[in-house]
Symmetry: C2
Subunit: 315 residues, 2 copies
């Protein structure tokens, strides 16, 4: 039996424009690492340390997304063989709209499941991550959980039970993601949205989400650009993001196909038809941010096809 396991899970972009709550993708590099090991001194699970968060994330298991996801996992495999202690290495921004909580939760369940001899399949693990996400964001959705755990560009048709579809990613498709360092709490930003929408707004959203899936299958970048509209979250959430309109204009003028909010913000992202265009867009947005003195992080890459992975195990 293993004594310690480490896992990595990627950051992700959710609420993909028209695909609010249902479409998301995994980032190439950013993400979190969780180390899990057996610990006879605890009954179920404890978070023994978190690094990289400047002490800002909750250490209490039932207030921490990784802790809650592992509790959900242990519920599924009773009786629990031994206590488990977790160390979380935050290696990406949080409260950022980049799926930080899902990354921690996905890495945690991936590590703990492997530590226990892989008793659960990926759907069961996904249910654990979704449950943890639901508690912190105020609503069940899988558009960060699924890419963090499974990778790729995914459509979460249903969350209970999860019905997750992996969508094709056209060659060349690249993202630029900017994280302006202003905090937007997911729950607060989510609660800012109305509980109902005009039927015709809904019609536009399902027309565009359907068109986006068609664009991915046919590698039609022009259609992808036309389809990635957001009439629900963007009109409300852009107010929380400094210089949103000006950044959007700059990105599109620089050749980006799209510019939308990542998750519930403040991160924003563009799709581009090639890596070289993405690099140009990133350069221009960096110049913009420097000029406007917006403290920010910048991420450029291709959609990561793998989700959470085991990075190490000790006996």
């Amino acid at each position: 039996m293993k004594n310690g396991v480490s896992a990595f899970a990627p950051a992700s972009v959710s609420n993909l424009a028209c695909g609010f709550d249902v479409l998301g993708f995994a980032l190439e590099s950013a993400g979190d690492v969780v180390h899990a090991r057996f610990d006879d001194s605890v009954e179920t699970v404890v978070i023994s340390d978190i690094t990289g968060d400047d002490g800002r994330l909750p250490r209490a298991v039932r207030k921490n997304t990784a802790g809650m996801a592992v509790m959900a996992l242990l519920e599924k495999i009773k009786p629990v063989p031994a206590g488990i202690s977790l160390v979380i290495e935050k290696k990406m921004p949080f409260a950022s709209g980049m799926g930080s909580s899902a990354a921690s939760a996905a890495a945690a369940v991936k590590a703990v499941n492997h530590l226990l001899g892989d008793p659960l399949d990926e759907t069961a693990l996904l249910e654990c991550v979704i449950a943890a996400e639901a508690t912190i964001s105020g609503g069940a959705h899988a558009d960060n959980a699924a890419p963090a755990l499974l990778g790729g560009l995914v459509l979460a048709r249903e969350v209970d039970p999860p019905d997750i579809l992996s969508l094709p990613v056209p060659a060349g498709l690249s993202y630029v993601l900017i994280h302006p360092r202003v905090a937007v709490e997911t729950k607060q930003a989510r609660q800012a949205l109305p509980a109902s929408i005009a039927l015709k707004t809904g019609v536009s959203h399902w027309a565009n989400t359907a068109a986006l899936v068609h664009a991915l299958h046919t590698a039609d970048f022009a259609l992808l650009a036309r389809a990635m509209r957001d009439f629900i979250a963007e009109p409300i959430r852009r107010r929380y993001i400094p210089h949103y309109e000006a950044m959007k204009r700059a990105a599109l003028e620089a050749g980006a196909l799209t510019f939308n909010i990542s998750g519930s913000g403040p991160a924003v992202f563009s799709f581009c038809s090639s890596r070289s265009t993405a690099d140009r867009v990133a350069r221009i947005l960096t110049e913009f941010c420097d000029r406007e003195r917006i403290d920010h992080g910048m991420f450029v890459g291709a959609i990561r096809s793998r989700g959470a992975v085991i990075t190490g195990a000790t006996r």
Copy 2:
């Protein structure tokens, strides 16, 4: 120059489950024929006769969908070279939810455009049909207009200007359409729908519409069956359709993948994974209707890939 032109345009199913207002397909056989000829005795356009409607459709050009579509066409190509007279042969049920008005309008513009030497392209013709449809149904939508004119299974991403995407049709996909002979006026049925919906209802619709497009691209009939849910129109409109729930149960038990309302009803339809399953479903639904004494028409076939076509021309 031609002196007379005849065109056929197919019946169609719109409001395809989750794809309310944006997804539709053309039927294999049912449809309308319109004959157009130059007529010096009229200034613009006149409907000189309608057959097959028992005198129930309006002959006034500005109250008839074919007349309005041709008026819209003539607006686009001023000056009009000569007066035009139309004869409409209704060869399908109307006020049925089978896209009768779109079929007449599509056949009419197809015939008149050809009579005039094809000055307009298909997008311009589609705009004419959409404009006519908007007047009679109380809202612009292209999910009957596009399949009637262009054929196939289409996604109307936008109506103004039209952005119409032809979706792939998996081999074997067949429909059964039943038209119970009770009248439901489109405008009345449409007005019965709420102006707004819950955000989470919207989320389900765009998740399912996206999944349906993915199912068509991957020929995944099980996913197609899961995705074709309707949380908006069905809960309201099924009350106008006799024995809706019992028919749905019978169709699904007989092996149909889906059962939904066609357009705004009262026609209903199922998709099946093969023609033989469709034939079985049709037989069982016919028995059901006979037992319940529901006067009805039954249509079985594959999605028609062609839209409106010229069927004859005289010099």
